[in-house]
């Protein structure tokens, strides 16, 4: 079955508001990576986390360091250019094989 459950599947935000996306993992994961896919299909890496939190501008991501069973992506002061599809992807392998398991994505639309 699916190892990565991403929620919500779609999200509509007013400009300037805050929100959070979440990924739950059905098994313990070693690391998680968050991506944004734009309308042209390009996949942009936002964060890579093996533990703890990382912040970049209005985005902040956290990876549960104890159970390693979920990760969140917080968007602060949402802007129109934040629109796109957000994917989390995780790996549960000990060695780096790059075998990421992706969630189904969250389609985010930010409107004025």
């Amino acid at each position: 079955g699916d190892q990565v459950e991403q929620s919500p599947s779609a999200l509509s935000l007013h400009e300037g508001t805050d929100s959070a996306l979440r990924c739950n993992f059905t098994t313990t994961m070693r690391s998680v990576q968050w991506f944004r896919q734009n309308s042209r299909g390009s996949l942009i890496s936002l964060f890579y986390l093996a533990s703890g939190t990382k912040e970049n501008g209005r985005l902040k991501s956290a990876f549960d360091s104890k159970e390693r069973r979920y990760s969140t992506l917080h968007i602060r002061d949402a802007q129109l250019e934040d629109s796109g599809t957000y994917f989390c992807a995780a790996t549960n392998t000990g060695a780096n094989t790059g075998k990421l398991t992706f969630g189904h994505g969250t389609i985010l639309r930010v409107h004025p």
């Binding site: 890496s45 094989t97 790059g98």
Partner: protein, 115 residues
């Protein structure tokens, strides 16, 4: 930041023909990957490649698929022969390979349409 280039962005091919998807990975990276995304669905791992060899492949990596990176040039995914269900966007990725866990850098994908 580091860029992975995929050429072309879109390929249309008749079922049964051969197709080669090209990827120019980040220059000092050592690990290379292909992922497949069917329209509207999640991205799925196909294969990874290191030191001239396939390290791991998924069930999606059918016998008709092959990968190579001859002489450090393009990292390619070849499908021969193609089938209708091969229509998808194929993403190439690379990573430095110096640490046990690290960021993957993805290209912008090649949309393959099999008619």
């Amino acid at each position: 930041g580091p860029k992975v280039l995929q050429i072309p962005s879109h390929q249309i091919i008749d079922m049964g023909q051969m197709v080669t998807l090209n990827c120019d990975p980040v220059s000092n990276h050592l690990y290379f990957y292909w992922y497949k995304q069917i329209l509207g669905q999640q991205m799925e791992f196909l294969v990874n490649f290191y030191n001239g060899k396939v390290m791991e492949k998924s069930k999606l990596f059918k016998d008709q698929f092959s990968v190579e990176r001859p002489d450090g040039s393009y990292f390619t995914l070849k499908i021969q022969p193609t089938a209708l269900e091969d229509s998808a966007v194929y993403f190439c990725a690379s990573s430095p390979g110096r640490r046990s866990a690290e960021t993957l850098y993805f290209g912008s994908g090649t949309r393959l349409t099999v008619l």
